[in-house]
């Protein structure tokens, strides 16, 4: 039983990182007022790009993660042009990008024959001698580098969003684009920058799944984690740190599924696999029941800004 518990807890960071990074990326773009549903698709792009880099070069997982970030940012530029420049309905644009990515990654991955090939991924960082401490060492000091990097990324993004001038402008654009525009802050540029920067984190989340945690690429391997990240942002009220706690919660749930099967406990396998999705819905219900006044979402979330349009 102790083994079960330690194995479970030690696996939580690995399952939590994709949720945390994707949610953080979404927060950056939604704080600028762009309702972003693209996470599922951009994570697929990141997963494919990272896996493809590793398989082509035969290694270099760190480089592969950078390629994943770049690829997701590149694709997000299409989304940025659609919603910021062309003012397309943000729900329609987000959904289209997700399904475009699903089709495109499936097509490229299958044609390049990357399906089901083992990937020489990123190993764990052994922080000796701390990793030798009983229980705690295995949980805190024997994880892969991205787990530690994620915490640094959270600190950095939180600092930029809430302690610097560009962060203030970004949030102002999301709260009241008309006022920001009048104050000389370019709404379009800040929104595009927020989408592209946030999407690089979403791409990292996807690359992490294929190169670090699963070490394999299959079509549609993100499996709804992007949608859960979208829900996580609502749960976190568009704030970074609550998103990290939420990600750990979903990491807990996802990590327990294979442990239960490995421990030989007999439960219906497919009903267990429903857990993350049911838990997400449960969390959303909790948010709705707790906060009767309505969300604390950015004021202009989902609204395109046209300077010449009267409101």
């Amino acid at each position: 039983m102790d083994d079960f518990l330690i194995n479970w807890i030690a696996n939580i960071p690995v399952t939590a990182v994709p949720y945390a990074l994707a949610a953080l990326g979404l927060i950056v773009s939604e704080r600028a007022g762009v309702l972003n549903l693209t996470a599922e698709g951009l994570m697929l792009v990141g997963a494919l790009a990272a896996a493809g880099t590793c398989l082509t070069l035969g290694g270099y997982p760190a480089l592969a993660l950078l390629v994943a970030m770049a690829a997701a940012s590149l694709v997000s530029l299409l989304f940025a042009v659609l919603v910021v420049v062309l003012r397309v309905n943000q729900v329609i644009a987000g959904l289209s990008v997700v399904f475009l990515c699903q089709g495109l990654t499936g097509l490229i991955g299958t044609l390049a024959k990357w399906q089901n090939k083992p990937i020489a991924g990123l190993g764990n960082l052994n922080i000796w001698p701390l990793s030798e401490i009983p229980v705690i060492g295995r949980i805190f000091f024997l994880q892969d580098p991205v787990v530690y990097l994620t915490i640094l990324i959270f600190v950095a993004v939180n600092f930029v969003l809430f302690r610097t001038m560009p962060g203030l402008r970004l949030r102002a654009v999301g709260e009241n684009p008309a006022a920001s525009d009048a104050a000389g802050v370019s709404v379009s540029l800040h929104r595009i920058a927020a989408i592209v920067a946030g999407s690089s984190l979403i791409g990292l989340a996807g690359g992490y799944i294929s190169v670090v945690s699963v070490k394999l690429w299959v079509t549609g391997m993100v499996g709804g984690r992007g949608w859960i990240a979208v829900a996580l942002v609502v749960f976190a009220r568009w704030a970074p740190w609550p998103a990290l706690w939420g990600a750990l919660l979903f990491g807990c749930i996802e990590a327990v599924i294979p442990r239960v099967a490995a421990a030989g406990i007999r439960v219906p396998q497919y009903l267990m696999l429903m857990l993350p999705y049911l838990a997400t819905i449960g969390v959303m219900i909790w948010v709705g029941a707790k906060d009767r006044r309505g969300g604390q979402e950015p004021g202009a979330l989902g609204q395109p800004h046209v300077r010449e349009e009267r409101r």
């Binding site: 549903l37 299409l78 659609l82 062309l86 003012r87 397309v88 309905n89 729900v91 329609i92 644009a93 959904l95 289209s96 990008v97 399904f99 475009l100 699903q102 089709g103 495109l104 990654t105 499936g106 097509l107 299958t110 044609l111 079509t219 499996g223 709804g224 949608w227 859960i228 979208v230 829900a231 609502v234 219906p268 396998q269 497919y270 009903l271 696999l273 429903m274 999705y277 049911l278 997400t280 819905i281 959303m284 219900i285 709705g288 029941a289 309505g294 046209v306 300077r307 010449e308 349009e309």
Partner: protein, 368 residues
């Protein structure tokens, strides 16, 4: 006078040129656009989307000439039958999506509703409920109920707990899918083959031909189109729906039963998707399989979006998407192009047409 007005409005509409001397780009919101201009913009962008799709396919190894001959092959009489079989579920999911979008409910749970439609229909068959003569009818009714109930769960979550329906319906797709797997790898598994499929339906539980080689699914879809068309264009419900989507508060104040109307329309949307699931399991597959619902969510969104939620147009667009589906299946079988390609083309088309709306609604000006 003219001059004076121009001077007064001058500083407001055209601030001094920027110091770089390049001027700047402004957007004007057009008040009205003639229909022919709209058609040109939409048609042009549609064409561009298709050109991009053909280019991507050419890169993937399908020469445009091959694509043309495959497309021509699909439209011959033999394959056309397959297209008509495929059109039925697509028209039904298109109707489902458009009915929900009309009331402002983003129903992205079409696959989940199809699954529950299929499960309810299969349950009637497996438990042999009702006499053989009415069994098929009962299966259809059960499928509609299954799809309707599954979407009402999301509608309830939205109205009671304000859970965003986009997220709720999408996540419920995964829940429905794993529930289906739970059945197909468990209690409902075909004992003979040990594949994750239900036992085949009996002959009287299948949608057969209704004459001239036309499958029984098509009349269901056509009936759905006519009923939805009447509902939307001619009935009081359609009028209420337009009122509610234009101004829900005003509608409530003047006594339109907003809540009831919304719930009914959402339930009908789910019922259409459930029927699509029934049509797929009872005609194409003849049993419950683990993939009869794949690729229908975005097809529903695409059909509703391109038809501007008009049920009659849904039938036309649904037929065209069916051509795309069958072509995609051909390319999958003969050229190993994954079926996800169909979703990619659908997405490109939606992106192209959605972008054209910007040009329709705005006039871009370069002020020096």
């Amino acid at each position: 006078m003219d001059d004076l007005a121009g001077q007064a409005a001058g500083p407001l509409t055209a601030p001094p040129a920027s110091p770089r001397g390049l001027g700047r780009i402004t957007l004007e919101v057009r008040q009205s656009v003639p229909p022919w201009k709209q058609a040109v913009f939409v048609g042009g962008s549609l064409l561009m989307g298709l050109v991009i799709s053909v280019a991507i396919l050419a890169w993937a190894g399908i020469a445009p000439a091959t694509l043309g001959s495959e497309l021509a092959g699909v439209l011959t009489s033999e394959s056309l039958r397959g297209v008509l079989v495929q059109a039925a579920p697509l028209i039904l999911v298109g109707l489902g999506a458009s009915l929900a979008f009309r009331i402002g409910f983003w129903n992205l749970g079409i696959e989940g509703q199809m699954i529950f439609g299929g499960i309810f229909a299969a349950a009637i068959s497996i438990h042999e409920i009702g006499p053989p003569s009415t069994r098929l009818l009962l299966m259809g009714v059960a499928a509609a109920a299954g799809g309707g109930l599954w979407v009402l769960l999301a509608a309830f979550l939205k109205s009671r707990f304000r859970v965003n329906e986009i997220i709720a319906t999408l996540l419920l797709n995964y829940v429905a899918m794993y529930f289906l797997f739970h059945l197909l790898y468990g209690a409902w598994q075909d004992a003979k083959t040990a594949f994750p499929q239900s036992t085949p339906f009996r002959a009287f539980e299948r949608l057969g031909d209704v004459g001239h080689g036309i499958n029984g699914g098509l009349p269901i879809a056509i009936a759905g189109v006519l009923i939805a068309g009447w509902l939307v264009h001619l009935s009081r419900i359609g009028f209420y729906t337009r009122f509610i989507s234009a101004n829900p508060r005003m509608a409530r104040i003047v006594g339109v039963p907003v809540r009831t109307m919304t719930l009914w329309l959402i339930a009908m949307s789910g019922a259409c998707a459930g029927l699509a699931g029934f049509v797929n399991v009872a005609s194409q597959e003849g049993r419950l399989t683990q993939s009869f619902f794949n690729g229908y969510v975005f097809s529903g969104v695409l059909i509703a979006f391109l038809s501007r939620n008009d049920p009659i147009v849904v039938a036309v667009v649904g037929f065209l998407v069916a051509v795309l589906f069958i072509t995609g299946q051909t390319l999958q079988v003969f050229y190993q192009i994954p079926f996800a390609m169909v979703q990619m083309i659908e997405a490109i088309i939606v992106i192209a047409v959605a972008s054209s709306e910007f040009l329709i609604r705005h006039r871009v000006r370069w002020i020096r």
